[in-house]
Assembly symmetry: C2
Homo-oligomer: 205 residues x 2
Amino acid sequence: MPRRRDPARTRRKLLAAGYREFYRHGFQGGSLKRIVESAGITKGALFHHFAGKKELGYAVLEEFLYPAVKSWWVEPLAASDDPVPVMQSIFGRFRKLLDQEKAEEGYLFNGCPICNYAAEMAPLDDGFRERLDRLYTAWRRAISTALKRGQDAGRVRADIRPADEAAFLVAAFAGTAATGKVTRKAASFHGALRAIDRHLEGLRA
Amino acid sequence: MPRRRDPARTRRKLLAAGYREFYRHGFQGGSLKRIVESAGITKGALFHHFAGKKELGYAVLEEFLYPAVKSWWVEPLAASDDPVPVMQSIFGRFRKLLDQEKAEEGYLFNGCPICNYAAEMAPLDDGFRERLDRLYTAWRRAISTALKRGQDAGRVRADIRPADEAAFLVAAFAGTAATGKVTRKAASFHGALRAIDRHLEGLRA
DNA sequence: CTTGCAACCGACCGCCGGGTATGTAACCCT
DNA sequence: AGGGTTACATACCCGGCGGTCGGTTGCAAG
């Protein structure tokens, strides 16, 4: 069999398999054996591309989840001075995603991958904690600066504190996913999302 | 050394040690060896009182965390037909607790123990998921029925959906703890709590 | 006082985890 | 063409894990 080489592709497969494995089983519970099997490669390749399990975990965070937050939240918000409808549409997109996803692979089953990482690893490893902090900070900053711009443009209530609201919204999102996966009923998930929507509505000037 | 026996006490110590260990290291990452050492007893005793690691985890959930939710949320809310100030005072008590706690043992460091369990174990084990579901359901029900009573008493806005708000508030609480432990700065934590408070204020009739 | 059992002890076990050492084949450069 | 390096594959290692098991001892009932 004429083996072809494509290190970049191998690395991507590893990253994707690692993402799935850690998403489902947690970082500590995630097994490198399962990761390499699911990626269709071997341990040798894994340890060639990553120094160890932790580094793979870090890479998933930086090269998978960070960009996801950027494209879902940071970029849409950066382009607008009317953040409320933008955020509503983000939550809306997310709602649609919920109904499409296959049973055992999505948010309804596994929650928010970022929040999962945070819940498990933040107290245990500073490498994870710092990377998560950077991610959440960027996320909150995107919201809070957009809210500030919205205030300046007269589209967002002046009497709210953008930083507080940002922290709150990110937390609400994380918590919704975390509690939703327990129930596994889309109804409860959607209920919390409706309340978030109502809250967002209340931010309008 | 004249060993004294006190099975109930032994069981309690085991439960407490298990709680701490799983809180800090997660369930999968938690070590029975450490639990036994920290409780000052032996593996024999542990396996005498509990069938295995999972059963200890279940017991922590049912005998430690469930009662905590009851005394923090369910009972105070059951006694009132004006839930908004009650919930504000609960969050207030929680804020105070935040400032008192020792660095590596509290919410600011380890987040919400229930949410940690949920994030890690809900997708992995139905025993955990069902118990967590019961817990969260009781929590949400306490809030939602109190809100309903508040609406009937004319103290809570009639145009909100109690069930949605309950799901949302529980989620916000969980998420606040989960994201707060990443930053480890009380300021960010308090910011989110202020926003929650503002949201609660908005529920008044 | 004895008997019986619940409570507990601690050495031991098998397994599976992350990690490594060594080999080999594809690819690149000159 | 061929040497060097990168990209893998495979077999192996060791530690720690959850769990077991025979033994001992406090303690209450008869």
